[in-house]
């Protein structure tokens, strides 16, 4: 690799980037909007769940129970039913997520243990149904305990719980690193995959091929400018996460920077690899954005826990670079651990970068087909 040639090649790439100010604007503006939007919006923390109540007793106790549920702050009683036939209609219109059914003679039957409460959840959304149903059950149980002045369940075993790293169990701490990962991965892969494909489609590839520039120079020259760009982007997003969402950086900032760099190299070289395989920008874009998007979101552990997946899919997830990066940045940012805890993941990413770069150099053809 001739440093002088490389230098002018890199300069050319930078000019490409900076003169297309629209893309640049999109590049920095959009991830920013996304992180802010998703940081607030993607949450599994329950809020304002609408429920309906069918109270067949309407006595002192049953009213107190309903009050207890609304007082929790998670639920809003939006409709009081008079008839159990109304339940289906409420669910079909999608008005409420759950119905609380309180049996007859609630007050008096509480004393002989035959009082009944039924929680019917709309399981067309199984996840919410499950959480809502369990949470309401918990509230009802606590209410019973309170009615007995705490005497009902004298706990023989006291359990003490400590939630580590995220004591308030806020999902924003989980999702911000995830969003950062997805944006870095897809944007980096897209940027480089399109840059070589564009040279091919517009015919500039021929000019490059007849020049004395070596394949390695072209690939490094394509990687470096985007590396700088993507790293700036990464810092930018991390800054937003820290300032806006107070996502802490408990570990070493330098280590975080290094790992970001490594992950960007992996994504960029994946992009280069894609671009050596395709002829048109359209193909490059479809592969880097469309083909990678859903697997990245679903298999990376960003939303769905990997440990719960069936074995073949767990295997597939091992092939996803973002999976390792999500583990790494969650560990550094939230747990504050050092390289010792994440050396395995780091090694895997290094290996992936190496494989992608070697494959691209090998695939880069100096002849037009």
């Amino acid at each position: 690799v001739n440093p002088k040639i490389l230098k002018s090649f890199i300069k050319k790439e930078f000019l490409h980037i900076f003169r297309d100010y629209r893309t640049l604007l999109v590049l920095f503006g959009m991830p920013m909007v996304q992180v802010i939007l998703f940081g607030y919006a993607i949450t599994t923390d329950l809020r304002n769940v609408k429920i309906a109540v069918f109270d067949q007793s309407k006595d002192e106790k049953s009213i107190s129970l309903v009050n207890e549920i609304t007082a929790s702050g998670f639920y809003m009683v939006t409709s009081l039913m008079e008839n159990s036939d109304e339940i289906a209609g409420q669910f079909e219109k999608g008005e409420v997520k759950a119905v609380l059914l309180i049996g007859e003679n609630f007050n008096s039957r509480l004393y002989n243990g035959s009082a009944s409460v039924e929680i019917i959840a709309d399981a067309a959304d199984p996840n919410t149904a499950n959480i809502v149903s369990n949470q309401i059950q918990g509230i009802v149980q606590r209410w019973v305990m309170r009615q007995n002045n705490g005497k009902a369940v004298v706990p023989g075993i006291i359990t003490e719980v400590r939630m580590h790293y995220n004591p308030s169990m806020k999902s924003v701490l989980l999702f911000v690193p995830g969003v950062i990962t997805i944006i870095l991965m897809l944007v980096s892969a897209m940027l480089t995959s399109i840059s070589i494909a564009r040279e091919k489609e517009l015919g500039n590839m021929e000019i490059l091929l007849v020049s004395p520039i070596k394949p390695a120079t072209v690939i490094i020259g394509k990687l470096l400018p985007y590396l700088v760009l993507a790293l700036t982007l990464a810092m930018f997003i991390l800054g937003i996460g820290n300032v806006v969402f107070h996502v802490p950086i408990n570990g070493s900032f330098l280590l975080l920077l290094g790992e970001c760099l490594l992950f960007i190299i992996v994504s960029l070289s994946l992009g280069v690899f894609i671009s050596t395989k395709v002829q048109t920008q359209q193909m490059a874009l479809m592969l880097s954005l469309f083909a990678l998007m859903m697997p990245t979101i679903i298999l990376s552990g960003f939303i769905f826990p990997i440990s719960s997946m069936p074995a073949p899919l767990q295997f597939l997830s091992h092939l996803m670079p973002p999976k390792y990066f999500i583990i790494i940045i969650r560990s550094i940012m939230l747990k504050g651990v050092g390289l010792m805890a994440i050396w395995k993941e780091t090694l895997v990413l290094l290996l992936m970068a190496f494989v992608f770069i070697m494959a691209s150099v090998k695939n880069y053809k100096i002849r037009l087909t």
Partner: protein
């Protein structure tokens, strides 16, 4: 009309002659659907639990074996002290650490409240909450069995009640019932929007737009001719996907399919119109793709498929009013799983029709046959 049919013919020929793109358009979404559906499951399984039993009495051993027999946990016994198991939590080797301190069995026998401790990796708040609930239930069961043995009767004259939980439309809480149609909707929307957003701008970039601009075709005909092929492809893929979902995953189809398809055809007009609109005001395929990607990520992650819209703050919920995908996902859920009829989704229908009309009108107006 005739001019549209020529443009249609051209577009279809272009799509079917591009051998590299065909599998991406037709095979990949279906493969992704069939594979990824298996991963899209919120149920928490295989919680890794480390137990440190410092008590080593009959009582503590029974508690441990209770956990071993539960299907939700993968129990391990790090042969170490409590402090180093905290390190395991740091290293991500375990999700939950249970510490049974010395004196647990003795206190139980004496009838004194005895203590156990859980340390939970709380990064994933939802997973942490669920795992902890599993653990509490197990302890609860253990204590009840103990009560049964030692004949501790619950005190009389206390209030008590029976709680039943019922899950309608999906009693087994099968995630696939929701995820198959949901993911399918997402994948087909992606295909449609990406393809349509790249379409016109590609002609601009390569220069073939000039040839189209000098033909007598009107702006309206042009947009219709560009929209139709992708609209047909989207509906075709939706059909195939639903059929395979029904065949392979046994997803229930309770409501009316014609109603669903009627809604889907309006919905695709919105997504494709958006794509074409993006295509008319960008200069390069990269910009077009980037902008549609931006919208798609928002549509997907805020569509109510992965996390519920109810959980969002007020302003974010207002944003979802403008998210066509959130309406489609809700309609899929309502029609397929609950059997909702036209009256139940009429509001969705009206909103979608207004969106389709306005987006496509703007696209027609925005498209200019004159080169800048």
């Amino acid at each position: 009309m005739k001019r549209i049919s020529f443009l249609l013919q051209k577009e279809f020929t272009q799509i079917f002659r591009n051998k590299a793109m065909l599998p991406l358009i037709f095979v990949m979404p279906i493969v992704q659907l069939l594979v990824l559906v298996n991963a899209a499951d919120f149920e928490i399984k295989n919680v890794r639990l480390s137990i440190i039993d410092e008590d080593r009495t009959e009582a503590s051993r029974r508690l441990v074996s209770k956990f071993e027999h539960s299907t939700q946990f993968n129990v391990s016994y790090p042969d170490t002290r409590f402090e180093s198991s905290m390190n395991d939590l740091d290293m991500g080797k375990t999700d939950l650490v249970l510490r049974i301190k010395r004196g647990f069995g003795r206190d139980l026998e004496l009838g004194k409240p005895s203590k156990i401790m859980f340390d939970v990796d709380g990064i994933d708040g939802q997973k942490a909450g669920v795992s902890y609930n599993y653990a509490m239930n197990t302890v609860d069961q253990y204590y009840r069995e103990l009560q049964g043995n030692t004949m501790i009767k619950p005190q009389q004259a206390l209030l008590s009640l029976n709680i039943t939980n019922r899950y309608w439309y999906n009693p087994e809480l099968e995630y696939k019932n929701l995820m198959v149609p949901g993911l399918l909707a997402v994948l087909v929307s992606m295909i449609g929007m990406f393809l349509s957003s790249m379409n016109i701008v590609r002609e601009k970039e390569i220069g073939t737009i000039e040839q189209l601009n000098v033909t007598p075709i009107t702006k309206l005909e042009f947009i219709i001719g560009k929209l139709m092929p992708f609209w047909i492809i989207c509906l075709f893929e939706l059909t195939i996907g639903l059929f395979l979902g029904w065949l392979i995953f046994d997803i229930p189809i309770v409501g009316s399919l014609p109603l669903l398809f009627a809604f889907a055809s309006v919905y695709f007009l919105v997504m494709l119109g958006l794509g074409l609109l993006i295509s008319t005001f960008t200069n390069t395929q990269q910009q077009a793709m980037f902008i549609s990607w931006f919208f798609l990520v928002i549509f997907i992650l805020m569509g109510g498929l992965f996390t519920a819209i109810e959980n969002m703050p007020d302003w974010a919920r207002k944003i979802t009013w403008f998210n066509p995908a959130s309406y489609f996902i809700e309609v899929l859920r309502m029609v397929l799983l609950k059997g909702s009829g036209f009256a139940d989704i009429s509001r969705h229908f009206i909103i979608m029709a207004i969106m389709a009309f306005s987006v496509n009108t703007i696209a027609v107006m925005k498209y200019s046959k004159r080169s800048a």
